[in-house]
C-alpha cells in the first residue's frame, strides 16, 4: 500500500488537466499555509474589521489601507482574506476527517468481509446504526457533551462518514475474499492484519479511492452545515465552507460576491482534490502502471 502510494506520487502526471489540478491543489495548500502572511486582513481579528464597510463591492478601497479586491461580506470581512483563512480550517477539517473515516471504514468493512459470521454482523449492524443517525444529531451530542472545538467537528464527521466506506469496502471485499489469492495469503498464515491491509484492502479500495475525494467535499459541506447551525467552527472564524453557506443567503440578492467568490474557491478546491484523487486511483491500478 505504502509503496503503491509512494509510487503513485512519484509517477509523472498524465494529461494536462491532471497537471493543472495538481498545481491547483498544491497552490491551495500553499495559500492556506501562507494565509497569515499574504492575506491583507486578519478576518479573525475584530479590530481589523470595519463593520461599516460590510457588503462593499469588489474593488472598494478599505479603511485598512488596502483594496477589497473581491469585496467584503455582510460583516465587513475582506472576502480574499476570509477565503484564505477559511481554507485552512476547511482543508484540515475535511481532509483529516475524510482520511481517518476512510481508514476506519475501510478496515472495518474489509474485516467484516474477511471474518464473516458475527464480526460481520456486528460491524454491519453498527454501520446500519450509524447510517440512520443524522450527522446533526451526532454533532449536537458531541459538541454539547464535549464542548465546541474543531477536533469535535472532526470527530463528528468521522463518525458520520466511516460507515459509507465500510459498506463499500465490504461489498467488494466479499468478492475478493473468495478469490484464490486470498487463499494463498491465508495459507501463508499471514497475520490477519496483513491479510486485511496488504491483500484485501488494496484490492477492495478502488471504489473507495473514487469515493474519498468526493467525501472530502461532503465533509466541507457538512462542516459548513454544522457551523451554520452554530455547531461547527466558531462563527467569527468562518471556514471556507461556512463562508459559502452563510453567503448562500446572498445568492439571490444583488450582493453576489459574498457567496460567489468563496463558492468558486471551494469549487476549485474540491474539484482539484477530486482530479488528483482520480490520478491516484489510476496509479493504484497496477494495470495502469506501465502506461
Amino acid at each position: 500500500m505504502k509503496a503503491q502510494i509512494l509510487r503513485a506520487l512519484q509517477k509523472r502526471p498524465h494529461g494536462p488537466a491532471l497537471t493543472a489540478s495538481k498545481v491547483l491543489l498544491a497552490s491551495y495548500i500553499l495559500l492556506a499555509i501562507a494565509a497569515p502572511v499574504i492575506a491583507p486582513q486578519n478576518p479573525y481579528d475584530p479590530l481589523q474589521i470595519y463593520g461599516w464597510e460590510a457588503s462593499s463591492r469588489p474593488g472598494t478601497p478599505g479603511s485598512g489601507g488596502y483594496l477589497y479586491l473581491l469585496g467584503t461580506d455582510g460583516l465587513g470581512r475582506d472576502i480574499v482574506s476570509t477565503i484564505l483563512y477559511g481554507l485552512r480550517i476547511s482543508l484540515v477539517v475535511s481532509v483529516t476527517s475524510a482520511a481517518i473515516a476512510a481508514l476506519i471504514g475501510l478496515t472495518a468493512g474489509v474485516s467484516a468481509a474477511y471474518f464473516g459470521k458475527w464480526v460481520d454482523v456486528a460491524i454491519m449492524r453498527l454501520v446500519d446504526l450509524q447510517l440512520s443517525l443524522p450527522t446533526i444529531l451526532i454533532a449536537l451530542i458531541a459538541i454539547v457533551t464535549l464542548g465546541p472545538g474543531i477536533d469535535r467537528i472532526i470527530l463528528a464527521l468521522i463518525i458520520a462518514q466511516w460507515a459509507t466506506y465500510a459498506r463499500i469496502a465490504r461489498g467488494v471485499a466479499l468478492s475478493e475474499a473468495n478469490k484464490p489469492y486470498t487463499d494463498a495469503a491465508r495459507l501463508m498464515r499471514l497475520p490477519t492484519s496483513r491479510i486485511i491491509f496488504r491483500h484485501l484492502l488494496p484490492n477492495s479500495i478502488a471504489p473507495a479511492v473514487t469515493l474519498i475525494p468526493i467525501e472530502v467535499g461532503h465533509a466541507v459541506a457538512l462542516e459548513a452545515t454544522l457551523s451554520f447551525l452554530g455547531l461547527g467552527v466558531p462563527i467569527d472564524k468562518p471556514s471556507l465552507g461556512s463562508a459559502v453557506a452563510s453567503g448562500f443567503q446572498y445568492l439571490l440578492t444583488g450582493q453576489y460576491w459574498i457567496s460567489l467568490f468563496p463558492g468558486l474557491a471551494l469549487f476549485g478546491l474540491i474539484a482539484s482534490i477530486n482530479l488528483v484523487g482520480e490520478d491516484v486511483r489510476r496509479s493504484l491500478d497496477p494495470r495502469n502502471h506501465s502506461r
Partner: protein, 508 residues
C-alpha cells in the same frame, strides 16, 4: 394557467414562514399559530397597527368596579356553522382555557388566571370578575380567540387537529390543512364585517427564506412574509413590492448581574475575575461602545430601528427621551478604566443562531464593537433550544436575546422586573437584575387604566431602568412583507401577523 385560474377564483396565495402547528386556537401562544388562525377565529378586542385597542367581537367594554369588567358583544354575528355568537361562547372560551386545557398547553392561561368568575348577564353582555384590579384585561382579550360552545363538554385539541371542527366567526372558513405545510381557507360570505376580499386563501408554509423569495419572484405566491432585508433590493428589481414596519419587539444584550463569578469571563491573561457586570459603569461602557448603526444599516440592511428601549419609539408606553446614541469609544474606555478595567477583559457572548433576523451576525458585530474598547468578546452561537437550555442552566455570562409582547409593560414586566414567581414577573430576567425603585414604578403604572397616564408612567419607569443599563437594547427589526401585482397594498402590523385581511386587492 395556474395563476390565471387563481385570478378568476380570486384566490390569494401566501407564502408564510409561520408553520401552523395546531388548529386549537388556545393551545400555544405563538405567532406561528395565531397569525394564521386569526382568519378563522376572532377576538373580543382587536389590536390595531398602532397597538391601540379597537372593538372586535366586543363592541365596547368598561370596568364596573376595580375587580369587575363588562363587555358588550356584537350582535348578529354567526359562527361558520350557522349558530349565533353569544355571551355563552365567551364564557365557554374562558372556561376552556382556565379549566379544561392542561399543560403543556399554556401561554393563554396567564391571561385568564386573574379571572375569578365570568357570567353572561344577557346574551350580548359578559361580566367578568377578577381577583384584584386587572386594568390590562381588554388587552389580554386581544389575544384570546373566541370559540363556539359545543353541545356538550369541551372540544379537545385532538378533535380540532383532526381538522373537522374548527369553527369560528372569522372572515374565512377552514377548508383543509396539513400540519406545517399548508392551510386552505374559503370566504365566509356571512361575515359580519362585510364580504372578505378573496374567495379563497391558500397559505403555503415555506420556512426557507430563499425559497419564499423565489416563490414570490416567480409569481407562485402573491404575498411572502419575513423577507430577509438583503433580498429586498433584488425583489424590487423583479417587480415585487415591499411593506415593512418596526416590530413590537426588541433584541438586546443581557448581562448576568447577580452571580459573583461568571463562566467565560476572565482578564486578558485568562485568569477568572469577579463579575464585572455588577458594575453599572461596565454595562454603560459596553452599551456606549455598541455600534447599533452597523446592526441596523448593514446587517438588517436598513430594515431595523436602533433601540434604546423595549418598543420602537412612538408606540404606547415608550419614552421620547430615550434615543440610541452613536458609539463613543473614548468615553466608553474611560468608563471602563473608572470601573477598574483599563485593559478590558474577555467574555463569551452567547446567542441563538437562526432564530431572529440578524442574530448570529449581531453577535459578531457587537464583538467587533467591543473589541474597540479592549473587551474581547468571543461570539458563540448555538441552536435555539441548546441556547435556552444553557441559559436557563446559567452557562452564560452575557447573551443576545429577543422578546415581544402585546404592550410595552408586558415586556418590562417579564424582562426587567425583579424575578418574582408569585407575581409572575421577571420570567425573562435571566440576568437576575433587581431594581426595587423600578419595580415599584412599574407596579404603579400597571395599576393605571389603559390610557395616556399609564403610558406616561411606563415611559418614566423605562427611563429609570434604562439609565441603569441592565440590558443593551440593540434593535427592533422590521417585519418585511413582499407582495406581487395582484395586491394593491398591504397593511403591516407591528405584531408581525401575516393575514389575508391585511391585503387590499389591486384594482383591475
Amino acid at each position: 394557467a395556474d395563476s390565471a385560474q387563481a385570478q378568476e377564483r380570486g384566490e390569494l396565495r401566501i407564502a408564510t414562514s409561520y408553520k401552523l402547528m395546531t388548529l386549537d386556537p388556545q393551545y400555544a401562544n405563538l405567532n406561528e399559530n395565531t397569525s394564521l388562525l386569526s382568519h378563522i377565529y376572532e377576538r373580543l378586542v382587536y389590536q390595531d397597527e398602532n397597538l391601540e385597542l379597537k372593538p372586535g367581537l366586543a363592541t365596547s367594554w368598561r370596568p364596573l368596579s376595580d375587580a369587575q369588567w363588562e363587555f358588550k358583544l356584537r350582535d348578529n354575528v354567526r359562527f361558520h356553522d350557522g349558530s349565533a355568537f353569544t355571551a355563552d361562547d365567551v364564557v365557554y372560551t374562558i372556561e376552556r382555557i382556565r379549566d379544561f386545557l392542561k399543560p403543556p398547553s399554556g401561554g393563554f392561561r396567564s391571561y385568564v388566571s386573574g379571572i375569578k368568575s365570568v357570567s353572561a348577564s344577557d346574551p350580548l353582555t359578559v361580566v367578568i370578575e377578577t381577583n384584584g384590579a386587572v386594568p390590562n384585561l381588554p388587552l389580554f382579550f386581544s389575544s384570546i380567540f373566541v370559540m363556539n360552545r359545543p353541545s356538550e363538554g369541551f372540544e379537545t385539541t385532538e378533535d380540532l387537529n383532526a381538522g373537522r371542527s374548527p369553527v369560528g366567526t372569522g372572515p374565512y372558513r377552514f377548508e383543509s390543512w396539513s400540519s406545517g405545510e399548508n392551510l386552505e381557507l374559503a370566504r365566509n360570505d356571512a361575515y359580519w364585517g362585510g364580504k372578505p376580499a378573496w374567495s379563497k386563501v391558500a397559505f403555503r408554509v415555506i420556512e426557507s427564506p430563499a425559497a419564499r423569495v423565489a416563490a414570490l419572484s416567480t409569481g407562485e405566491v402573491d404575498v411572502a412574509d419575513a423577507i430577509p432585508a438583503r433580498d429586498v433590493a433584488s425583489l424590487k428589481e423583479r417587480g415585487a413590492r415591499i411593506a415593512s414596519v418596526g416590530a413590537a419587539r426588541v433584541n438586546f444584550v443581557q448581562f448576568d448581574v447577580s452571580r459573583e463569578t461568571l463562566p467565560g469571563v476572565t482578564d486578558k491573561s485568562g485568569q477568572p475575575i469577579g463579575n464585572p457586570f455588577k458594575d453599572r459603569l461596565v454595562r454603560r461602557a459596553l452599551a456606549m461602545a455598541t455600534d447599533r448603526g452597523i446592526l441596523v444599516d448593514k446587517i438588517l440592511a436598513g430594515y431595523g430601528t436602533a433601540a434604546a428601549q423595549v418598543f420602537p419609539n412612538g408606540l404606547p408606553g415608550t419614552s421620547a427621551n430615550l434615543v440610541p446614541g452613536t458609539p463613543n469609544y473614548d468615553e466608553a474606555k474611560s468608563l471602563l478604566s473608572k470601573a477598574g478595567f483599563p485593559d478590558g477583559f474577555n467574555l463569551v457572548l452567547a446567542g441563538p443562531a437562526g432564530r431572529y433576523p440578524g442574530d448570529a451576525e449581531s453577535l459578531q458585530a457587537v464583538a467587533q464593537s467591543w473589541a474597540r474598547i479592549g473587551v474581547n468578546a468571543q461570539p458563540s452561537a448555538a441552536p435555539f433550544s441548546v441556547f435556552n437550555t444553557k441559559r436557563a442552566a446559567g452557562d452564560y455570562a452575557v447573551w443576545y436575546g429577543g422578546t415581544s409582547g402585546e404592550a410595552a409593560d408586558i415586556i418590562l414586566h417579564t424582562l426587567l422586573a425583579s424575578p418574582n414567581p408569585e407575581r409572575g414577573t421577571g420570567a425573562l430576567n435571566f440576568g437576575k437584575y433587581r431594581n426595587e425603585g423600578f419595580d415599584a414604578m412599574l407596579a404603579k403604572a400597571e395599576s393605571i387604566e389603559v390610557g395616556p397616564d399609564r403610558n406616561q408612567a411606563l415611559a418614566q419607569a423605562t427611563e429609570l431602568v434604562m439609565a441603569d443599563q441592565p440590558i443593551i437594547p440593540l434593535y427592533h427589526f422590521h417585519h418585511i412583507v413582499g407582495y406581487g401585482p395582484r395586491i394593491g397594498s398591504y397593511v403591516m402590523h407591528p405584531r408581525g401577523w401575516t393575514t389575508a385581511m391585511q391585503t387590499l386587492a389591486a384594482m383591475e
